[in-house]
């Protein structure tokens, strides 16, 4: 069974500081990995995704994530946080084959607060 763990429920950073959100996954084969962001009262927007190739992937809004197979991790990073980054962030894992029906399993989310 596939699963995702986001160890940090809530993180607070100062504007301009660097950010790292942690994500650990469990999946029996080569997974697809995703990070989504949800602003208050909004739907979810895809930040970035990984399947193969370069283990450091770039996304929108200046975010990047690094896939580490040995650690089953896919951590999200940003060098300098802006107040508009305050939101909830979800990591997700899914299958790459049609047999998986492309279902995604989501972590419980990390709420990011940005202090001025």
């Amino acid at each position: 069974a596939q699963s995702v763990t986001q160890p940090d429920i809530h993180i607070t950073v100062s504007e301009g500081a660097s950010l790292e959100l942690r994500c650990n996954y469990s999946y029996g084969a080569t997974p697809y990995l995703f990070w989504y962001v949800q602003s208050p009262g909004q739907g979810l927007q895809l930040l970035l995704k990984y399947f193969s190739g370069d283990t450091l992937v770039q996304g929108i809004k200046g975010f990047e994530a690094e896939f580490k197979r040995s650690q089953s991790s896919f951590n999200l990073r940003k060098p300098s946080v802006h107040w508009s980054d305050a939101a909830e962030y979800f990591c997700a894992v899914g299958g790459s084959s049609g047999g998986s029906n492309y279902k995604l399993t989501f972590g419980k989310g990390t709420l990011l607060t940005v202090n001025p």
């Binding site: 739907g43 995704k49 492309y102 279902k103 989501f106």
Partner: protein, 112 residues
């Protein structure tokens, strides 16, 4: 965005009444999903569809049913709503391998 709309956006209903939520897409995608979002639980899969009349259960399917009689519409029905089904419901579509989901704007359902 991807032409995916959910209706209604908000609904308040009484315990024991049936409720149907609608997800409509305009892009002819095969795969559609219903999730519920609750604080502390993230998003959990209720049901999904991999084609017209082809549906299957997710991890939290008890008390819910779905139907997909045409490609563009995926309906979620609460047969007899309970307070535990108060939640925000998201519909999503997948464009295929590695594409992730595109989500609708959500339906906030309150069962009183």
């Amino acid at each position: 965005d991807a032409g995916i709309t959910q209706s209604p956006r908000h609904k308040v209903t009484e315990t024991g009444t049936p409720v149907t939520l609608r997800c409509h897409q305009t892009e002819n995608h095969r795969y559609m999903y219903w999730y519920r979002q609750d604080p502390g639980h993230g998003l959990r899969l209720i049901h999904y569809s991999y084609g017209v009349k082809d549906t299957d259960k997710g991890e939290v399917s008890d008390g819910y049913s779905v139907s997909r009689s045409k490609t563009e519409d995926f309906l979620l029905t609460l047969e007899s709503a309970t307070s535990s089904q108060t939640s925000v419901y998201f519909c999503a579509i997948s464009r295929g391998a590695g594409m992730g989901y595109t989500f609708g704007s959500g339906t906030r359902l309150t069962v009183v």
